[in-house]
Amino acid sequence: MKRILVVEDHEDNLQILRDLLKSAGYQMLEAHDGAAAVATAVAEKPDLILMDIQLPVMDGYEATRRIKADPALKAIPIIVVTSYALSGDEGKAKAAGSDAYVTKPYSPRQLLAKVREFLPQ
């Protein structure tokens, strides 16, 4: 079973992803801030990371940069999830090293399609 690390601090949004990913046959790991995301990525080496941007302790851009700077982790695809696309956010997400970009509110169906692009079954 593929493992997806979800970095998100909003409980309801976490619950949606738990329900969505479970029903789609993925195992979900959780981190609630950027620093925990980096630590969990190191410890668990997940197959994919869904990264929120506005996070306590360390934001998603910085967490993405640190994970992508680690040779052991840089191959893990990171999909950045932020609140609504402002021009410029996409550029910042790319500059931080993310592989894809999804805006919030997202359609769970479309998010799942994006995940499947990176995790072919």
Binding site: H10, D12, N13, I16, D19, L20, S23, S83, Y84, A85, L86, S87, G88, E90, G91, K104, P105, Y106, S107, P108, R109
Partner: protein
């Protein structure tokens, strides 16, 4: 003898008439000179808001026209509770410096007296007047006669106009009258300068308040979006039967929740866009793009909407459009808004999108066969929260923000947006865009 006497009478009468004529001529010449000078003063008052320049002009003219030697304008400072020297004419630097060091409180010297009486006060000879009435420094500078005219504001005395003469003697009524006119002009100048200062201050406060408002809206919209994600997310999961099969009746209700949720999200996004633009926080993300792909992307996004209303959707893009550089996503947003509106407001006929390029500038046009827009509404619809007819807001939905946002995005690219329409004959929205945009232009 009689005739000699008659002759003498005539001669005397002639001389009298001649003298009178000469006096009248002199008087007339003086009146003309006074009027001319007052005209100059009036012009100074109206042409500059620099209080000091105006007051210096007034005091100089007042001295010249009244045939005195020196003059000054004092303005009462509420904060310091004293008269402050603001403008002078014909006074040497030492005298000015000495006067500046003096404290002239309310009711003190001839200035205070004129203010208390709200009427001119004159001192014909300073040597015959109590010392407290005229400043020592004025006496030492050799002035003998002083005329003080209060500057009468609507509610209080704002200051005084003073002229000084080295010759002792009373000032004629004509001089007093003339100086009262100058005093009135000074009051206008002082009040104009004060009002202008207040307006400047208010403008600054308003600009700051407007920034705060935009920032608040931006933060607010962001905060609103997080719960929207949960509402729309759960709704979709239920409709996708993640939690088991959803009964038909419940599905119908949830679809309404979903459609209203999406509408609310659209409103939030529009408010955020606009507030970001107003706060100067919307940066263009400039990339290479193809205008043909933008048009085709919009076409596929709205194809089903047009089909649902049985409207023909046409696209006309020449094959040789130049390569483009700009904020592709924002440009797509503008075109999508125009085409979306065209479909929304057109009940039968067609909607056509055309693109053309000339001299490095794209012109995009969206033509519809809808009801058209009255001439007096055509500029208004690009303002915030305006639709051509407010009743259409209820009927057709929409935030009334889409075109305002479109206008700003186009202008940030250095382009222009407008509409061409005759009521009953449809409408065509146009916008131009430089094909190569290297940096964002300021938005008016």
């Amino acid at each position: 003898m009689e005739s000699f006497a008659a002759q003498a009478v005539i001669a005397i009468e002639n001389t009298r008439l001649l003298n009178e004529l000469r006096d009248r001529t002199t008087e007339l010449a003086r009146s003309v000179e006074e009027l001319r000078t007052l005209g100059e003063v009036g012009q100074a008052v109206n042409s500059t808001l620099d209080q000091r320049t105006v007051l210096e002009t007034i005091v100089a003219k007042a001295v010249q026209l009244s045939g005195t030697d020196a003059g000054a304008i004092y303005v009462f400072s509420n904060r310091r509770q004293e008269y402050r020297l603001r403008a002078t004419y014909g006074m040497d630097i030492d005298t000015i410096a000495s006067i500046r060091r003096q404290h002239i409180g309310p009711g003190e010297t001839a200035i205070g007296e004129a203010a208390a009486q709200r009427a001119p006060v004159q001192v014909a000879d300073v040597r015959e007047t109590p010392a407290a009435h005229v400043l020592d420094v004025v006496v030492r500078a050799g002035f003998r006669a002083v005329l003080v005219v209060p500057l009468l504001g609507a509610e209080r005395v704002v200051g005084a106009l003073v002229v000084r003469r080295k010759e002792p003697g009373a000032f004629p009524q004509t001089t007093v009258d003339l100086l009262q006119t100058f005093a009135a002009q000074s009051v206008v100048a002082i009040q104009n300068a004060r009002l202008f200062g207040e307006i400047e201050e208010k403008s600054r406060e308003l600009a700051i308040a407007s920034q705060h408002k935009s920032q608040f809206l931006a933060n607010m919209s962001h905060e609103l979006r997080t719960p929207m994600n949960a509402i729309l997310g759960y709704t979709e999961l239920i409709l996708d039967d993640i939690y088991g099969e959803t009964p038909a009746k419940l599905r119908e209700v949830l679809e309404r929740v979903q459609s209203n949720g999406r509408h609310l999200l659209g409103l939030i996004n529009d408010v955020l866009d606009l507030s970001k633009i107003e706060a100067g926080q919307l940066a263009l993300s400039l990339v290479d793009y193809s205008m043909k792909e933008v048009v085709n992307g919009v076409f596929s996004a709205v194809e089903s909407l047009a089909a649902a209303k049985q409207l023909a959707l046409k696209v006309e893009v020449p094959p040789d459009l130049p390569p483009a550089h700009g904020d592709e996503r924002r440009i797509t947003q503008v075109l999508l808004n125009l085409v979306g509106n065209a479909i929304k407001f057109t009940d039968k006929g067609e909607v056509a999108i055309t693109a053309a390029a000339e001299n490095g500038t794209f012109t995009l046009a969206v033509r519809d066969t809808g009801p058209g827009i009255a001439a007096d509404q055509q500029a208004k619809i690009f303002e915030e929260f305006q639709q051509a007819d407010s009743s259409s807001t209820r009927e057709k939905g929409g935030t009334g923000l889409g075109l305002a946002i479109a206008k700003r995005i186009v202008e940030m690219h250095g382009g222009r947006i407008w509409v061409d329409s005759v009521v009953g004959e449809g409408a065509t929205f146009f916008f131009t865009l430089p094909a190569q945009v290297e940096r964002a232009a300021g938005v008016a």
